[in-house]
Point group: C2
Chain length 560, copies 2
């Protein structure tokens, strides 16, 4: 068997090319460099001067110009561009998954003339090879302008296919690995977020955290959270990263309307890549806030709740929806984005439900105390409604003073409990018509301390106890039980004192008539700096003038 | 330049081997098959009949016999075995990261004679090639018994190195990808667990779920959870998958002692691959329960809690530790296991803290009601302590009836609230010495309904309201207010009725002396089927006989 010198040289050259391919694949880690070096090697193997490596973006079904080698300017015009996965000769190659040889590009009906015009490059012929990994096409290599004098042999094409396979394998491995590693990082971040959401019991703080994490984990421009108001069947916007002008009031979307409403009704995630092409989108909110929504990822907030009385049986309940708006890079949301967003939404829903439950138990606690105070008062027609009125007045004063919500809440609790110490006192003294004697007065004057004593076992209430213990102290130091003076008296005590006296003056008692309101206000003002902290008293008068403190009819419990 | 026929054949053969290697690498997905086929190809390329592929287990620093080809029986004797990563000729190759040629195995001081003896195979010479990925050695290929007549040329060795590189690249990619994908799956499972833990408010159910998930996610034989008792500085075993004999009582470990105590003190995870070699391990518990602990993974349960009054400032607090014991496959815990366990522990700690907080608020609620009931009773020396005694008696009866803990809790609440309806009734009637008249009796008889009315706004208490409303109903239908009969009366009502009457009989009232206890018990028994449900009454007597119901001195609040 005779062997030509050329044949041996070709064999040696191929072995050498394989060895170099191996070096590139095993040593180059940077993706762009790998692709560039590999295409250069393919062009050398094919003995051509121009070539293109396309990669398939399967999620968007597009071919991306990954590397373009050729006359000056061509690469700049094309690299990074995208085209539909079935366009042009490359598209045919990708679709059919086999090698295509086009001896005359101009005569091919597949040739994408527009792109060629744009790049300014007009090749004569092209060999097109698919990159395949596990039987799926993941890209295409085009090799242009083989000299017509030396056409490709079958062996040439087999060898080029072998080289392309090596590249496909490497690229696919790298893609799978980087996708998987990215997912590991995102899931880890998601777990951290779950822990962070689990650490707060403050609703406002929680909602802010959720929005922040949506924008961070999904890299979006904005996010918002709606809660389902089951009574009205509406979604209520409860938090958003975009400032909503106050004049818009509360934004509500009926379930079933708009994208958020659709998601709440269907109970599943919806991706809207371009809101202009989705008839459900209604742009009013955006127009009013000046935010231009392009794309939306919207998912329901769902909790699993135990079916009452059925151990271990849970049912899904939609409590709201979360939206992520406009990815920062302008790309569409990916499958990984959806998974992460759904995971975040599950954690957010649990955290929101936990905070709601905690609030509910606290509210329950408050209403139980109020119910008891009212029951206690009910046996004396003169004091009926006193606790509720003092509570309303105290809250109005606290708000007028600009206290933060949690402080207002403590003032409310202190006011509700201010007379609880009377619970152990004989009716005969509390309800005595006419003046009480000195011994009886001593008993009554014990009620602030007695209230403090009763409540002391309740750790939860420690901060509000001074409001109970000190509501009969006077600003000038002449009050009881301790004769505290000025700022020695807790703010809660100073607030409740004002509210308590005003209600006492304007209510009928068994031993005297109610004072006309003007006289009562005059009496109050006269006590500035004597019974009352002038600053607190000022807040009382402001609340009075704004109508936030008002007298009710004797039998109606709540002033409105 | 002359080319021999042999040279051309060798070139063709190498190209063909590379092509086949490429096929194996791109088409074989099963790891074992891939390794087997590849080693066979290497042996063909080296023209030898025996070979071994070792893979490095970096975490344990061992070489594993992955594939062994050679005389019958050798593979069975060696495949799957492990040896320290620096043993033998393979170990030297791995350590030095370069090709080693040993022309006479018997004369090499590195030769692992023991293993050779065990396999019964005695090779003459060996070529040893490292598998490298990104400059790290990931395994070794040994090729035995090249015919001495045709020694390896440098070109042969270069070519075999090229082949080995291809395999190393593929194996490393596959390993990285499968490690990463496994992590994705484990993290997803962990996220699901977080959601599951977030759905329960029942402590026992939560602890059971945590243990179950530890065993599932880490594939261990057992798991346990200790809670830190800050008062005593001890860890208290609160849940374990192993049944603990009752006679052992509560298992406590001082912080700082044993492995769990060490982890609680240091606040970080500890892995103990073999407890027999760890002086901290103390085997008492295991000996008593008959469980043999081999390996332990132990991590602290830590929560982030807000520093009081400092918005946004959190501090770490150890609330306990979790242990995973004995991996099912007998292997040591991996880094991935540790990450998953720590992630699970973070979620478990949050869920436990949430349940504790919820309990605490509920307990607070209960103690507030008790405080009020006691304050109310305090003004009448005759009824002082009545509510607490009725509550203790009712709980003892409920437990004697074998009710589950949540039902006992409801009985307790109903008992605490049974007389709350008296809160709005005049002292003059409640404390009247001597007999009350008909009108006064009517007022007093309203207290069960009045209690129900006061508590109705509290959704949380709906289930226990019948216990309040029906504690004066009689089993024979002659009670008040509704004249319910038999099982028409709620179980809570039937229990509180027994407890209430017993305390009334044995306490002094303003209008009569306390009855001697024997007479009271006789009177109680006489009411079986009349005032009382006989079944509930029976439980009362059993509790009495066991000393779980006892009379206290008039001034001591709790019978013990």
């Amino acid at each position: 068997m005779g062997v030509s010198q050329g044949g041996v040289a070709a064999l040696r050259r191929r072995l050498d090319l394989l060895r170099r391919a191996d070096l590139i694949l095993s040593q180059v880690e940077d993706g762009r460099l790998l692709q560039r070096q590999f295409l250069a090697l393919m062009m050398e193997a094919a003995r051509v001067e121009s070539g293109t490596l396309y990669l398939l973006d399967a999620e968007r079904d597009e071919l991306v110009f990954a590397v373009v080698e050729g006359p000056a300017g061509v690469a700049q015009a094309l690299e990074g561009r995208r085209m539909p996965a079935d366009w042009g000769i490359a598209g045919r190659c990708a679709r059919q998954g086999r090698v295509i040889w086009v001896p005359s590009v101009e005569e091919s009906r597949d040739w994408a003339r527009d792109l060629a015009e744009r790049s300014g490059y007009h090749p004569q012929n092209v060999l097109c090879l698919p990159l395949k990994a596990q039987e799926r096409v993941i890209g295409v290599v085009q090799l242009f302008d083989r000299p017509p004098a030396s056409p490709y042999s079958q062996t040439d094409i087999d060898f080029l296919s072998l080289l392309v396979n090596d590249l496909a394998l490497k690229l696919e491995n790298a893609r799978l690995l980087s996708t998987s590693r990215e997912m590991v990082e995102r899931l880890r971040a998601l777990l951290d977020v779950g822990v962070e959401l689990g650490a707060t019991l403050d609703r406002g703080h929680l909602l802010g955290l959720i929005l922040e994490q949506v924008c961070r984990l999904l890299q979006t421009e904005a996010a918002s959270i709606f809660e389902l108001d089951e009574a009205s069947g509406e979604l209520v916007l409860c938090a958003t990263t975009r400032p909503v002008p106050e004049e818009l009031g509360t934004i509500r979307i009926p379930v079933g309307e708009g994208i958020a409403g659709w998601v709440a009704r269907e109970g599943r995630t919806e991706v809207v890549p371009d809101v202009r092409q989705d008839s459900r989108f209604y742009p009013q909110v955006g127009e009013q806030t000046g935010f231009i929504t392009r794309s939306i990822l919207c998912t329901p907030l769902v909790i699993q709740e135990q079916v009452a009385g059925q151990e271990g049986i849970f049912r899904r309940r939609v409590i709201g929806v979360a939206q992520a708006l406009n990815k920062r890079d302008g790309e569409p949301f990916t499958r990984a984005d959806i998974e992460i967003f759904e995971g975040l939404a599950r954690q957010a829903a649990i955290a929101m439900e936990r905070v709601r439950l905690y609030r509910q138990v606290n509210d329950l606690f408050a209403s139980a105390l109020m119910a008891l105070a009212e029951a206690m008062e009910a046996k004396d027609s003169y004091t009926r409604g006193h606790t509720r009125r003092v509570t309303d007045f105290s809250v109005a004063i606290a708000e007028e003073l600009g206290l933060p919500p949690e402080e207002v809440h403590k003032v409310r609790t202190a006011a509700m409990l201010h007379d609880i110490g009377k619970i152990g006192m004989p009716d005969a003294i509390l309800q005595k018509p006419g003046r009480v004697d000195e011994a009886e007065r001593e008993v009554i004057r014990r009620h602030p301390q007695e209230g403090e004593r009763i409540l002391r076992p309740l750790q939860h209430l420690h901060e509000v106890l001074p409001g109970v213990a000190e509501h009969h102290e006077r600003y000038d130091g002449t009050g009881y039980p301790r004769g505290l003076r000025g700022e020695e008296i807790s703010l809660y005590g100073r607030i409740v004192a004002v509210a308590d006296v005003f209600d006492a003056l304007t209510s009928e008692r068994c031993y005297r008539q109610a004072m006309p309101v003007e006289a009562a206000l005059e009496e109050m003002r006269a006590q500035a700096g004597r019974a009352f902290d002038p600053h607190v008293l000022e807040a009382f008068f402001q609340a009075w003038e704004k109508g936030r403190i008002a007298l009710s009819e004797p039998d109606s419990a709540t002033p409105t």
